[in-house]
């Protein structure tokens, strides 16, 4: 988890599941989900998993180090139901942390958090618990509440207890959930794309086969809008 104090001003307070373009000077700017925002000291939080050179540089960052931030981008989403189930795979849990902070007060929120290995689960469950959200963990080795993948966990759930389901994580996970989708409950997906301009002009983040631009129309989409994107493997 990285925390940055905003030195300029954010024009609007970020809402989940909005993201920013986080610029690592000298490398590039990458889209990054906002995991939390504290308006009192203007601190933005990000969950960074080192996978490429830019995220590795980010993960090694220690204060005082300056990064550029541009946003918030994308649309906020406001749940309409009272009981929300979040399915989060890996670093896809970042926007869910932000949801937990801002949308779960007065709601019944439950998070199923999936990782490959137990040692990757880390501080996430305790963070979520501290926000008053119940958590179930799933991983392939011993130690988690459920031994199996996030999709395995989804299959065993009784979804009638919830009004809405929000799925966030790697595209393969989203695809599998879309295939296994249970009827009678609204599913939403937080997608990822290569974002470049961030304001709907360059179309680099267009979802294939649609006219949807992730940076202005997303990143959260209801099932019917992205069904073909997810089911066309």
């Amino acid at each position: 988890m990285l925390r940055f104090r905003v030195l300029g001003r954010l024009h609007v307070e970020p809402e989940p599941p909005q993201f920013v373009m986080l610029w690592v000077p000298g490398l590039e700017a990458i889209p990054m989900s906002i995991a939390g925002y504290d308006p009192s000291d203007e601190v933005l939080e990000f969950l960074v998993k080192p996978v490429g050179s830019t995220t590795s540089k980010l993960a090694e960052a220690r204060a005082p180090e300056y990064m550029g931030v541009y946003g918030p981008l994308g649309k906020p989403w406001y749940p309409s139901g009272r009981r929300i189930l979040f399915l989060a795979g890996g670093s896809g849990v970042a926007p869910i942390l932000h949801f937990a902070r801002k949308r779960c007060n007065g709601r019944l929120c439950h998070v199923v958090f999936g990782a490959w290995r137990f040692d990757e689960v880390g501080e996430i469950p305790s963070l979520l618990s501290s926000l008053g959200v119940s958590v179930t963990t799933a991983c392939l080795d011993e130690g988690c509440d459920i031994k199996g993948t996030l999709v395995d966990a989804y299959k065993t759930l009784s979804v009638e207890e919830y009004d809405e389901i929000v799925v966030s994580g790697p595209i393969e996970v989203l695809r599998k959930i879309a295939v296994e989708r249970k009827q009678g409950i609204r599913h939403y997906y937080i997608l990822e794309a290569i974002v470049k301009c961030g304001i709907g002009l360059c179309s680099s983040c267009r979802l294939p086969g649609t006219s949807l631009l992730l940076c202005v129309d997303g990143p959260l989409f209801p099932h019917h809008l992205v069904e073909e994107v997810l089911l066309e493997a």
Binding site: P25, G26, A29, K196, C197, I199, L201
Partner: protein, 304 residues
Amino acid sequence: MRKDSKLSVSVTGIELRHPVMNASGILGDSVEGVRRLIGSGVSAVVTKTLTLEPREGYLPPILVPLEYGLLNAVGLANPGIDYVETLVREAHSSGLPIVVSIGGRDPDEFHVLAVKAFESGADALELNLSCPHTPGYGVDTASTLSTLKAVADSVKSVTTKPVWAKLGYNRSILDEAGALLEKGIDALVLINTIPGMAIDVYAKKPILTNRYGGLSGPAIHPVAVYTVYTVYREYRAHIVGAGGALDWVSALELILAGARAVQVGTGFYVKGLRIIEEILDGIREYMDKTGAKSLEELIGSAVD
């Protein structure tokens, strides 16, 4: 689609039902983007600049929004000239003319690009001779009057259809415009973005990955009006104005300076797709109030 004889105008023989279209680089690089443009009410579609091969462009940051405009260095990202047929078909299916913007590194590349664009049914070409931020293209190609002339010769030799040339502001603009018109270029598109840079004071680095980029929007509007005015006064040529047309007044200024049509770029970012209708409504109202009977009588009417 709305018929509007008062606003109709002919640019290089292409009949437009009104004078407002998009600027190259805005949405014109995919079928979905062209559809959005058509939905916005443009009178013609201008494609993203197409090059011989597809280009990825630069890594982000490619764009810095400023209070007075946009600074961009996209790096001519585009799907390549072989995609042109798809774009042409999409525009023509809605009955709109399509202007294909092409970017070559030398006269021969422009030649090949022009042949492919016209074979696919392009109604006109826009030669990108002025992209300020992609080495080898744009201002680099057009660095001397003799290369400008060679590009014009090379493209005009393959077609009788209209060829427009897009230039940026510089001190030699009259010479450049004159050289192109002398070689048979049918219209000038004035102006492209102008070079600019933004530095992050904490990171102490230029923000754009390419370090510098092209400035557009309100910041360059007076430069665009001046350039259109100056070139129109000298040559009375067909001009398409571009640069900070964000509302009907700024669009009309370009027309009064001599532009027969206006392109909108940054305006799409500031106001969204509704900007086209907003500009047209404003111009219609202005014409009613002032008793102007046709757009034609307004073109260049501020030029003495």
